[in-house]
Structures are given as structure tokens and as C-alpha cells.
Subunit: 165 residues, 4 copies
């Protein structure tokens, strides 16, 4: 059994409905939905750590360097990163370069529909990413919608509304 750490960076998976503005936004208190997904998945062993809470379209290379640093500092070898779908591939490629030769397995994941709206792909994706982080070889991968992607090939298919080949 491998210990798993989940780094939260925000993204659609963590958006909630705000009835005041009638938009989707991060929770006003900066909290994450990931522990609730784990709770319903009856998956109690991963550690969840918020690194930032960003729409991934606003993520800069400075943010990515901060994430790389958190990964380097982690004691766990099996790491999941929750991330917005818009630039998940860019972050994967940044991390693959920044962490070249790492002994750790890093798996990026997220959702096309926020978890808090139900009928979300978030639990399905996070369940897959946690297994991927324990089974895949060292390096940076993406797990979305039932597939494993190498960092170089991780990209949202905007037409299909999912991550696909």
C-alpha cells in the first residue's frame, strides 16, 4: 500500500454555484470539495493539501513552479494534482520538464463538470487518478475520463467535451 498525497490547485472540479451572483466560483472561504469526493468514495487514506485555488486559465509559470516545489518537498511517492481542464496539458508538460528524472509518480486530474453540481465526472476521474498514482511508473501523467495520458499528449478535446485521443 502506497501513501498518496493530493495537491489541490482549483479548476472546474472545485467550483460551486453561487446563488448571489448566479455563477460558478470557488467557495468564498477558499475550501476544496476534494475531501467530500473522497468521503463519498469511501477513500480515507490520502492527504489533501491546497496549493492554490485557481481557474487554470489564470495559472502562470510562477504558479507551476510553486506546484513543482510542493511536489519535490512531498514525502509521498504517489501524487495526484487536481487541476483545471483548460491548461492541464501545459502544466503536465511544465512539470515533466521541471521534475525530469523524478522517482515520483505524478497524476493530474480534474473534471469537465463541477463535483458540487452532481452528475460530475470528478469522482470517476479522481478515483482513476488515485489508482494511477499507485500503479503508473515514475513521471508525469494525466488521468481523465477513463484514460491515461502521457504529459505530452494530455489535452482537452473541446469538441467532444472530454479528454480523449
Amino acid at each position: 500500500m502506497k501513501p498518496v498525497r493530493i495537491f489541490v490547485t482549483g479548476g472546474t472540479i472545485d467550483k460551486v454555484h453561487d446563488p448571489y451572483t448566479e455563477t460558478l466560483a470557488f467557495a468564498a472561504d477558499g475550501s476544496t470539495q476534494i475531501p467530500e469526493i473522497l468521503h463519498y468514495g469511501r477513500c480515507h487514506f490520502p492527504v489533501t493539501q491546497i496549493v492554490m485555488m485557481l481557474d487554470s486559465l489564470n495559472m502562470t509559470d510562477e504558479d507551476r513552479e510553486k506546484l513543482a516545489g510542493a511536489i519535490r518537498d512531498a514525502r509521498e511517492e504517489a501524487l495526484v494534482v487536481t487541476h483545471g481542464t483548460g491548461t492541464m496539458g501545459e502544466t503536465a508538460r511544465y512539470l515533466a520538464k521541471a521534475l525530469e528524472g523524478t522517482s515520483k509518480t505524478i497524476v493530474l486530474t480534474g473534471a469537465m463538470r463541477p463535483f458540487s453540481l452532481f452528475h460530475s465526472d470528478g469522482p470517476f476521474n479522481l478515483g482513476g487518478a488515485i489508482i494511477g498514482a499507485q500503479c503508473l511508473p515514475a513521471g508525469v501523467h494525466g488521468v481523465m475520463n477513463g484514460r491515461v495520458f502521457e504529459a505530452g499528449k494530455l489535452k482537452k478535446n473541446t469538441d467532444l467535451g472530454r479528454f480523449d485521443l
Copy 2:
């Protein structure tokens, strides 16, 4: 990318609420919820095949032999079996013996709470099993609640209400 086939055998994951009897039962038309889980997981490539629709406490070795035959006949190398939690371990051990030396990766999964009731661990588990079927070595495994179990160690923790070590 590996083709994945899902063998449905029933179990809690596939139960629905019957308002007439006010119990949980399989759908009267014998249908499965798995395609709906895949739909919300935005995971469109696995083939779903119903082998039987049983409460796993009623599963006999004859049923298990039928399942082993379906696995042998499958063209895919990556196979998921949805199964009741009550005897998932017994079936895993039966298959491990019956399919010794197989080149295929077989992953058993299921749920503690039916998918149709929401807040189910089913999508989380199925998402994990589909990734496990593509990443794990040949042989029989269980994927439940974020963990990978060897066939010999797959067992519901009735006290905790989940699969755990």
C-alpha cells in the same frame, strides 16, 4: 490506448430503489446502471457486457465458472468485473485459480452504496478499476475505495463499511 471490456455481474452498484416494494432491487427489465456511470464519467470507449445480474451472496461456483469463461473468450486484455461486495474476494480467488497464467488483467470492483442513490462510491471505484485494468500487471486484482488489492487480500471491512487493509 487499451480497449477495455466491463463484465457486469450485478451487486449493490447496480441496485435501484423500487417504490412499490420500498426495497433495493435490480431493475425489473434486467438492465445495468454501468453505462450511465460511464456516461457521467465521460468515458465512452469501454464495452459493457451483462454476464449475470446477481446479489453476490447468491453467486455459485457455477456462476463463477461462467464468468471465467466469458473472460477467457474476451478479445480485450484489460477487463473490469462489476460485482457485489459480499463475495467479491471469493470470486477474485476463484478467478485467480481458474485463470492462472492468463495474459489478461482482470479488475473486480463494485460499490457499498448503489449508484442510483447518488453519493455512491460506484463512480469513484469504477473510474479506478478502469485505470487499474490498463496499468496493472496480468492477473486478478480488486480496486475499491482508492486501493488496489491482490486477489488473496480482497475483503470487505464490514466494520468500516469499505474495502480496506
Copy 3:
């Protein structure tokens, strides 16, 4: 604006899934789901009071007398009773007799599918019952599935799986 009191007696609306026994049962701690339905209905003014927590098939005339007493003692004129569907009509007719000439409006309601399973008729029915309790004349009524029933005509249509004429 009329103050509203909700008397909880149990029934399907209040059942939850128990993953240990894989059945539907009342919460082990005896709690009710009604405040959660009110919360999501953004309806904060009714007072909720548990009178008993019973499957209505097990409700006796002694239980019904206890309920009638609670209704007599209430200071509010607008009262809702949540109740199992199996004997909702019997209780309505018992109360109509026991409370003959009352100045209060009493509305029985419940659900064909437990609230905790989602896709329940519970919020729709409770929302209707609370409005009915404020608008209907004094006496005992049922509100289910969009209709108002006099006590004498309140009956589950078992074939249709709903309350209907």
C-alpha cells in the same frame, strides 16, 4: 404570514441507505431528514418536531392518538405531518375524527422515494404541503404529488406508484 409546525412521524421520506445491512432504514441516531429538505428548499421558518419515527405499516391507533395530542397542543394553526405512504389515509381519517371541529389546518405528506436517495418526490411534496397548510381551510388534508386530497380520499395508488385520483 403564518407560522408552520412540522410533525415528523417517519415513513419512506426519512429512510436512509445503510451500507452495512444494505437496506433502507431510519438513521441509527433517530434523526430526521426534514431539516435538510427545508435547507435546500431555502425555507427556514417552520419548526420541525419529531413525534415518532415509524414505518407507517407499524403505526397503531395509540400512535395516532399521540399524534392527535401533539396537534391539539401546538400553538400554530398551520401544521404539516410527514408520514409513511402505506397508512397515510388511515391516519388522515383517524385525525379527521379525533380533531373534528378543529380550527387548525393539518396537511399530511410524505414520499414514494426516500429524500436521501435523491430524485425523491419528498421536496416537491413537502413544498406543496407547507403551502397547503397556509392556504387550505381548517381540517385534515393530504398533499402528495401535486394534488390536494380530502382525508376521506387520501390513498396511495400502488399500481401507479403515486398518490392519484
Copy 4:
């Protein structure tokens, strides 16, 4: 038993999540969620008619006149109007004037959170509005969050995130 007609005008209750733009919008095919709310409420008798599909902040007096005409033309005496929360009060007051002396009971309702996101107040409100349309006197009313409002007093409490006094 009174026949009930539901006029759909759009509003938050009918918004769905669009994974492409990651916003809340009306369904691309112009369809309404109201029949699905009725389905889960096991309420099969009202007729649903789409009059327009608008964010109520964009509703003009020309739109309101069109709605008043549809109400005048309806054969039913019990009418529900689903409407955005932003200008529900304005429309109620417009209709109260335009339909002065009507023999019909008109009830406006809607939701603070879209039905399609679950945990919505939509089913609770619609269930209340359908009962209100059958029980309230002729004229224009609002039913939201468990309360009945006269047209003159119908107003969203933006601070509380609900309709209240």
C-alpha cells in the same frame, strides 16, 4: 381536482451547466427542465408550455404582455409561471395590473439554484406553486421557499439568498 397549466419563461430554475463554456445557460435545444421536475415529483397531470426562455433580467414589458396573453388564452383556471428570480416581482405586478379582475389563479415561482445542479430549491418551490395554484384565490401570487407572497410584496432578498419577508 383542478387542471393546472405551467407557463415556462426561463430563469435560473431552467439553467444547465455547459461544459464547453463552463457557464450556466439554457439548454442549446431550447428545452425546459420542468417536465423532469414533475417526473421526479410523480406529478403527471399539469400541462407544460414554453412561452419564452429568458434570463428574467432581460425580460421586457413586451415579453410580459405576451405572457399575459397566454394566461388570458388558457382554458385552465389554475396557472403556474416559472420565472427568473431577478424580476419575478416586476412581472407579478405587471400581470396583476394587466389581468385585473381575472377569475384565474396565477402563481409565479422559480429557483435560486438551477434544478439540474441538484440540491436545488426548484422542486420544493414548484411543488408549492402547483398546490398554491389550486388553493389560492383568483389573482396573481408568488410562491417561493415555503411562503405565499402577494404580487405587491414579491421580492428576492438578495442578502439572505431567498425570498422572504
